[in-house]
Symmetry: C2
Subunit: 270 residues, 2 copies
Amino acid sequence: MYFAVAASYFAPVHLVAVVGEDFPAAERDSLAARGIDLTGLEVRPGRTFRWHGRYHEDVNVRDTLRLELNVFADFSPRVAEATRRVPYVFLGNIDPRLQAGVLDQFTAPILVACDTMNHWIEAARDAVEALLPRVDLLVVNDDEARLLSGERNVSRAARRILERGPKSLLIKRGEYGAILFSAGEVFAVPAYPLEEVFDPTGAGDTFAGGLVGHLAATGDVSHTNLRRAIVYGSVLASYVVEDFGARRLQTVSRDDIERRYRQFVALTEF
Amino acid sequence: MYFAVAASYFAPVHLVAVVGEDFPAAERDSLAARGIDLTGLEVRPGRTFRWHGRYHEDVNVRDTLRLELNVFADFSPRVAEATRRVPYVFLGNIDPRLQAGVLDQFTAPILVACDTMNHWIEAARDAVEALLPRVDLLVVNDDEARLLSGERNVSRAARRILERGPKSLLIKRGEYGAILFSAGEVFAVPAYPLEEVFDPTGAGDTFAGGLVGHLAATGDVSHTNLRRAIVYGSVLASYVVEDFGARRLQTVSRDDIERRYRQFVALTEF
């Protein structure tokens, strides 16, 4: 949801996902109202995936209290015929074997971005590593980068991960921003300094949505444009954390996005 | 030492400090060889200040194992007549009452930068706060900013601290770079990504040395130039951590500095 809503500010979005019968009609309607194609949104008997967690006073740190896969447990995503030719693919954070199965269904994507998490790196490392050579842009946070690489230092971690196949690696660092590594290039952007981080849930997916959305809208996957895309991702993420869930993300305007993009220029130029 | 050596790449430096009889002649010579004015370097009976610490695997975190003030304990800095008219003053991290006493001796500085640490904020908070209205640029790390402000969030911490008097506040964030706050302006710069942080000791003073050195060399305290100065500080800090102590700092060239400055441009531009 976070990815789809964020990306929908930039480009048409085709969502491939599963929810339970408890998924609120109002949420579905609000996705549809944003023009998001819900053909690929399956509704299965049972409950929607749930995550229960607690954020620390340092909102970069969170504990998982309970994780219920529910209808996700035996989800086998099927990409609709019309969706298989889309040029920009984002593989959300699910079992890497499912991510590979989804990716198989696309005919010739220009760019494949991929998220994962500690759980899969620990429980299915081989499958995560098998996926990496097929990925153009791996998007992880600093903990995940450390776990995947076995290195604490971010630059060494990035080198090890890039050796395993992805063309580029974006490491999200919470309140410290994000850093992009690819062959011979590094780009770092700070996070937008907010006095109140209300709810960081979904910030990572929102970041990815703004990023991939901008790439898809411009049709330009150059390194220069990838930098701009990362700033758009940072912009969207800076909005989503201002309120609970995706509330703020739903009300943000294209003007808000451009205004904060300019604030990022002012924040970083010298 | 770190501050003086870093600043000496940019501008003439007059050091006001105290060491014990154990201070190596070779160190003194190497400072003099860099053109640093040592008139204000007192040698007192006893041992030089010593800090013993342990860095964690996360080099942003360190434990103080032992702190010996030694000749620092009853240091009462006296600024030489010829030095009192210098326009750029950096108050190194000592007792805030001594910092105030040093500052009293300067006739009309254009810019006063000031460092402090947790120890003084806890042990002499009133004296630290009394100094703040006399400071143009307070330079602290994120822990110190939190302690001084009572706020965890960096933006709120900065607002509280600026309310107490300094015109600008630079918060150093170790491997995440630095962020500058002043009325209506924020500037953030990432740290230079290094594969090996060998020894972070002195990185903060080195940062301040590059920063104040650049301001003094250019005679320009505009916000635009302060941003550039912060990048020069980041450049010098990125070198000093590459080797033990001030070794690397002693061998860096002006070309190295300019080359890495351009790498900072490449690292951050979008």
